[in-house]
Amino acid sequence: MTAQQKNPPLKSSVRLISVFGILLTFVGLMAFGLNEPLYPPAKSNTLVIKKDSITSVKAFKAVYTVLMSPRCMNCHPSGDVPLQGDDSHLHTMFPKRGTEGKGVLAMKCANCHQPANTPGLHTPPGNPNWHLPPANMKMVFQGKTARQLAKQMVDPKQNGHKNMQQLLEHADDGLVLAGWNPGEGRTLPPMSHAQFKKAWTTWIKTGAYAPKN
């Protein structure tokens, strides 16, 4: 008699279901652990899209001028060293991105960047969440055309796993807002945050179309 034959069929089924359940739990935990979203879930889900490609593209062109301004682009570099200043030069001391975007070894971002701007001209700007995008999703702005950036923005695999509602709400993210509070000696983005948010919202709510170039 084999071991399987010793167990009544019901007992075997219960054991099989239990093992399957435990495995499923582990898989679930692993999946959430490894793919933890970078951003919190959307606060609401009231997004209504009214497609209008002409209005959408026009709005994105305004958005693009902000995204490519030093206050946004400097933390979305094409390499692993952040940029600095209105001329977007490589950050002095060459701090590196690191896996989580928070720096490496004795050169973590928060070693110098405090929870708030440091007083004084050209001193380190601050934010409680100061960081670059992580190494596994660099969200590069530098060198991107308006078309490339628009397409990148709406792709959850390239935008921090954000859906359109989360993307809409991202206009009020703490680090986005920090672009308009850059510390002494740094120029502001080319429009107010309110104007930016209006263009951003218009772009998304009219279908998030990408310009032709």
């Binding site: 070894l105 050169m107 380190p124």
Partner: protein, 156 residues
């Protein structure tokens, strides 16, 4: 009055929470091993450990350090016998010495996170600490030496 935990000892000092932590450490706690260099986090002379990270104390406010664990060069080891301190001596690293408490505190974080650092790791970790005497080759040599000492100690 605020209470700061420095080198595992409690200091109650009369400091404004907005005061740079460096002032509190040097002028109020009397621990003058940590140096003032630039005052704007550009040189690394004021590097201390805040919860084990190589923080620049000149731009860090006292308020950020309340309830946190602060370590200064005086607390890096009990008898100045941290592998880095021994290696620094052996390789005669300092010239004027002014930047070296900061250099050592950054190097200590490096060795904690990378016990066998490559030259590239050393560059990545130490690029925020400037030495006007240009002792960089000896700093690199001493970090490798300290890593070796640490490995031998661990193997015992």
């Amino acid at each position: 009055m605020v209470s700061l935990q420095i080198n595992k000892k409690s200091y109650t000092i009369d400091a404004d929470p907005e005061m740079p932590l460096l002032w509190a450490i040097r002028d109020l706690a009397g621990l003058t091993g940590t140096k003032f260099g630039c005052g704007v986090a550009q040189c690394g002379a004021c590097t201390i450990h805040l919860n084990g990270e190589a923080v620049r104390s000149c731009v860090t406010k006292v308020s950020r350090a309340i309830g946190q664990e602060i370590t200064t060069i005086e607390g890096l080891s009990v008898n100045n016998d941290h592998p880095l301190q021994l290696a620094w001596n052996e390789a005669n690293v300092p010239q004027c010495g002014y930047c070296h408490s900061g250099q050592l505190m950054s190097a200590a974080v490096l060795l904690k996170e990378k016990p066998s650092p490559t030259d590239e790791d050393i560059d990545n970790a130490m690029s925020g600490n400037i030495c006007r005497c240009g002792t960089y080759p000896r700093i690199r040599k001493a970090i490798h030496l300290a890593a070796e000492m640490q490995r031998k100690e661990t193997a015992k």
